[in-house]
C-alpha cells in the first residue's frame, strides 16, 4: 500500500541523510522525498511517499521516530489529507504542437511559464495521479524534459502536524 508520511525534524545538517540512510539500510522503498525548512527556522518538514505492507509501514514509522533528530512523525494516509506535487514539463512547441500543447495545458489547468520558438515549459500542480495523467495524455514524442518535486502533503481540517 502507498503511504504518505510527514515528519518534522531538527533543521540540522545530516538529518536528511539519516532518513535516507535508514530507508536504504532497512530496504524500505522511497517513491519520493521532499524536504524544506518550515516557518520555524529550526525545523524542517519532510514528506516521504513509500510503499509497503502494514507491518512494514509500522516499522518505518517506528524507526523514523527512533531517529534522534526527528521531532514528530505522522502517517498522513491514516486520515483525510491533501497531497500536491509540482511538475515542470518542457515540450515541443513547433508546428502542429504549438496549438496542441497550449490546449493540453489549459485542459489540465497548467500554465505555460516559459516560451521559446520551439518549446513551451508547462507548470502543473496537483496530486501525483493528475500529473501522471497529463504525461499520459501528451504525445510522448513531444516531451523533451520533465521534473517533479515529489509529493507534499497536509492533513485536512483540524489535523495539524506541529510541535
Amino acid at each position: 500500500m502507498r503511504h504518505i508520511i510527514s515528519l518534522l525534524m531538527e533543521n540540522e545538517s545530516g538529518a536528511l541523510s539519516r532518513v535516507a540512510g535508514l530507508f536504504s539500510a532497512r530496504g524500505y522503498n522511497i517513491e519520493s522525498l521532499t524536504v524544506a525548512p518550515t516557518e520555524d527556522a529550526s525545523l524542517s518538514r519532510m514528506t516521504i511517499v513509500t510503499r509497503g505492507s502494514e507491518e512494514v509501514i509500522e516499522q518505518i514509522t517506528k524507526q523514523l521516530n527512533k531517529l534522534i533528530d526527528i521531532v514528530k512523525v505522522q502517517d498522513l494516509s491514516d486520515g483525510d489529507h491533501i497531497e500536491r506535487e509540482l511538475m515542470l514539463v518542457k515540450v515541443k512547441a513547433s508546428g502542429e504542437y504549438r496549438e496542441e500543447m497550449k490546449r493540453m495545458a489549459d485542459i489540465f489547468r497548467g500554465s505555460i511559464i516559459d516560451v521559446s520558438e520551439k518549446t513551451y515549459t508547462i507548470e502543473l500542480t496537483g496530486a501525483g495521479s493528475k500529473l501522471d495523467a497529463f504525461l499520459e495524455a501528451l504525445d510522448s514524442a513531444a516531451i523533451l524534459e520533465t521534473v517533479r518535486t515529489g509529493a507534499s502533503g497536509i492533513g485536512r481540517g483540524e489535523r495539524i502536524l506541529k510541535i
Binding site: 531538527e10 521516530n65 534522534i68 510541535i163
Partner: protein, 569 residues
C-alpha cells in the same frame, strides 16, 4: 566578573570528569593531541592505552556491560575512527551505552581530502544511536552532555562525538549543565497501565506459560524484578544469549538458553507454550529461527521492551508494552499480588511435567570420560574453579556457545559477549575493560585460536596496565563453527577452516611478559586452572587447551529451521 575561558580540549576533559568517567580507553594521534595534552595534566580519570583502536572501543563497551556505566573511548581521526567502527557496530547491535570521541581534521580542512580525514559521521551513521560533529567550541559542552544522555537512556547505544582539531584549540566559557532536555528525544519509560493489566490477566490465565528474557533485562537492571515475578508465578524462564545471568542459571525454573544452540527444554517450551512473556528480547533469527515455523503454534504473546520498534518486528504480539522493563515487571508483580489468586496450578503442574520430560533428555551431556580434552569440560571446570563467580568474556564461535551453555551465570553483567554483531576479536579487549572496572575480580576470556589472533596485540596493553586476565583458549586447530557448518551443510568440504601455522601461544604470552601454559590432557585441566587462579592470581595467564578438533555444538537448529527442528548429538 569575567568568566574564565577554557579550550575545547580542556572542556572535553572537564566534561568527562563531570560525567563521573573514571576510565577512558584510547589511542592518541594528530587530531586529538590537544585532548591528550589535557589528559596528561589531569588526574580525574585514568587513560588506558590500547594497541589498536578497535580494542579501545571493545574495552569501553565491556566496561559498560559489566558496570552499567557509559563506556568512553577516544581515538584520532581517519584510520583511528575507521578502526573504531567494528567496535562501535558491536556495541550498537547489543545496545551498549558508550560515548566514542573521535578526532577530526580542522574544520577548514574538512572535505579537502586532508591527511587522516574520513567522513566519520557518514561512516558511523548506520551503526550509532546518534552522532555529532562539533563545529564550534561553544557547542562542545552541550553536545557531550547530550551524547551521554542519549547513550544511557531509552534503548541504550553508542554515540560518536567527532571533534575537529581547531575546535579543541578554540576557547569559550565553560558551564556543565546539570540536566538536558531535547524536544526530539523523549524515551518512554513507564508502561501503559491498561496494557500491564491485560498482561497480568493473560499471565494468570496461562496453562503453558514461558518467560523469555533477553539483553534488555541486563541493560535495564531488571534481574530482581524478573526473579520476583518468575518465582511468584512458578513459571519457567528461558533466556537469549544476551540475557544470560538475568535469571540465575542454576535455578530450577531456568530452562537454559534458547535458540540455535539452546536446550531442548527451552526451545520446545518456547514453541509449545500458550502464553509467552517476552522481556527485553527481540525474537531475532538466532532465537526463534524461522518465524513462519514459530507462528505455526498458536500462542498469545506479551512483549515488554523499551524500544517500540523491537515490538512486532519479526513476530506479531498481542500485548505490546513499551517501557522500562524494571518498572513494568514491578507493576505486573504488584498486580499479580493484588489479583488475590495465582495461576492454574493443575495446568502448571502438567506443563512442568512435560518440560521435565524434555529436560530429562539431558541435551548438554557429552563424553566426560574422553581421553582428549573436551571443550565443554574446560568450561565446566572453569565454572567449578571460579565457583561461578568470574566475569566471563568470549569471542565468537563454538567456544562462545560452550561458554554460554556450560558456565552457569548466576548474576547479571557477568557474561560479556558480542551477541548481535558476532565480532571475533572482542573477547580479550572486553576482558581488559571488565578487569579495569573490577580490579579484584576473576576475569576469564574464553576464546578460540581464530578469534584470539584478531586482537592478540592487546597482550601488550594487559602488561602495561597490569591486567591479570585468564585467557582460556579452546584450541581445536579449526575455525570451529565454520568447520561445524561445513561438516553439516557442505559435505565436509573444510574450505579454509583449518588454521595451520599456529604460534606457540604459551611462548607468545611469555614474550609479552605473561604466564603461558599448554594443556593437552583432561586430567591436567583442573590443576592448570587452579594454578592460574591461585599461584598466578595477579598475572595474566594464557591457558592453551588443546581440545577435541571434531567436537560440535549441540543441540543445533539449522539456519532457517524452526525451534522444534533441532539436531541432537
Amino acid at each position: 566578573m569575567a568568566e574564565t575561558e577554557l579550550t575545547g580540549a580542556e572542556i572535553v576533559v572537564r566534561c568527562l570528569a563531570a560525567e563521573g568517567v573514571e576510565h577512558v580507553f584510547g589511542y592518541p594521534g594528530g587530531a586529538v593531541l590537544n585532548i591528550y595534552d589535557e589528559i596528561y595534566k589531569q588526574d580525574k580519570f585514568e587513560h588506558i592505552l590500547v594497541r589498536h583502536e578497535q580494542a579501545a572501543v571493545h574495552a569501553a563497551d565491556a566496561y559498560s556491560r559489566s558496570t552499567g556505566k557509559v563506556g568512553v573511548a577516544l581515538v584520532t581521526s581517519g584510520p583511528g575512527a575507521t578502526n573504531a567502527v567494528t567496535g562501535i557496530a558491536t556495541a550498537y547491535m547489543d545496545s551498549i551505552p558508550m560515548v566514542v570521541i573521535t578526532g577530526q581534521v580542522p574544520t577548514a580542512a574538512i572535505g579537502m581530502d586532508a591527511f587522516q580525514e574520513v567522513d566519520t559521521l557518514g561512516i558511523t551513521r548506520p551503526c550509532v544511536k546518534h552522532n555529532f560533529l562539533v563545529k564550534d567550541v561553544r557547542d562542545l559542552t552541550e553536545t557531550i552532555k547530550k551524547a551521554f544522555y542519549i547513550a544511557a537512556t531509552g534503548r541504550p547505544g553508542p554515540v560518536v562525538v567527532d571533534i575537529p582539531k581547531d575546535v579543541t584549540q578554540h576557547s569559550c566559557p565553560f558551564h556543565y549543565p546539570e540536566t538536558i532536555s531535547m524536544r526530539s528525544y523523549n524515551p518512554t519509560s513507564k508502561g501503559h497501565g491498561g496494557q500491564i493489566k491485560r498482561a497480568m490477566q493473560m499471565l494468570l490465565e496461562a496453562k503453558r506459560p514461558v518467560i523469555y528474557t533477553g539483553g534488555g533485562v541486563i541493560l535495564g537492571d531488571a534481574d530482581q524484578q524478573l526473579i520476583e515475578l518468575a518465582r511468584l508465578l512458578g513459571y519457567p524462564v528461558t533466556s537469549t544469549l544476551m540475557g544470560l545471568g538475568g535469571y540465575p542459571s542454576p535455578d530450577q525454573l531456568f530452562l537454559g538458553m534458547l535458540g540455535m544452540h539452546g536446550t531442548i527444554e527451552a526451545n520446545m517450551a518456547m514453541q509449545h507454550c500458550d502464553v509467552l512473556l517476552a522481556v527485553g528480547a527481540r525474537f531475532d533469527d538466532r532465537v526463534i529461527g524461522n518465524p513462519k515455523h514459530f507462528a505455526k503454534e498458536a500462542r498469545r504473546i506479551i512483549h515488554i521492551d523499551v524500544d517500540p520498534s523491537s515490538i512486532s518486528k519479526r513476530v506479531k504480539v498481542d500485548v505490546p508494552i513499551v517501557g522500562d522493563v524494571t518498572k513494568v515487571l514491578a507493576e505486573i508483580v504488584k498486580l499479580v499480588h493484588a489479583a488475590g489468586h495465582g495461576p492454574d496450578q493443575e495446568a502448571l503442574k502438567a506443563w512442568w511435567a512435560q518440560i521435565e520430560l524434555w529436560r530429562s533428555q539431558d541435551c548438554l551431556n557429552y563424553d566426560r570420560n574422553s581421553s582428549i580434552i573436551k571443550p565443554q569440560f574446560v568450561v565446566e571446570k572453569l565454572y567449578e574453579v571460579t565457583q561461578g563467580d568470574a566475569f566471563v568474556t568470549s569471542d565468537v564461535g563454538q567456544h562462545q556457545m560452550w561458554a554460554a551453555q556450560y558456565y552457569k551465570f548466576a548474576k547479571p553483567r557477568r557474561w560479556i559477549n558480542s551477541g548481535g554483531l558476532g565480532t571475533m576479536g572482542f573477547g580479550l579487549p572486553a576482558a581488559m575493560g571488565v578487569q579495569m572496572a573490577h580490579p579484584g575480580a576473576m576475569v576469564a576470556c574464553i576464546t578460540g585460536e581464530g578469534s584470539i589472533q584478531m586482537n592478540i596485540q592487546e597482550l601488550a596493553t594487559c602488561q602495561q596496565s597490569k591486567l591479570p586476565i585468564k585467557i582460556i583458549l579452546l584450541n581445536n586447530g579449526y575455525l570451529g563453527m565454520v568447520r561445524q557448518w561445513q561438516e553439516f551443510f557442505y559435505e565436509e568440504r573444510y574450505a579454509e577452516s583449518y588454521v595451520a601455522s599456529l604460534p606457540d601461544f604459551a611462548k607468545l604470552a611469555e614474550a609479552y611478559g605473561h604466564v603461558g601454559m599448554r594443556i593437552d590432557k583432561p586430567e591436567d585441566v583442573e590443576p592448570a586452572l587452579r594454578k592460574a587462579f591461585t599461584e598466578h592470581k595477579d598475572e595474566l595467564v594464557f591457558l592453551n587447551f588443546l581440545t577435541d578438533p571434531r567436537e560440535n555444538v549441540y543441540p543445533m537448529i539449522p539456519a532457517g529451521k524452526g525451534l522444534s527442528e533441532m539436531i541432537l548429538i
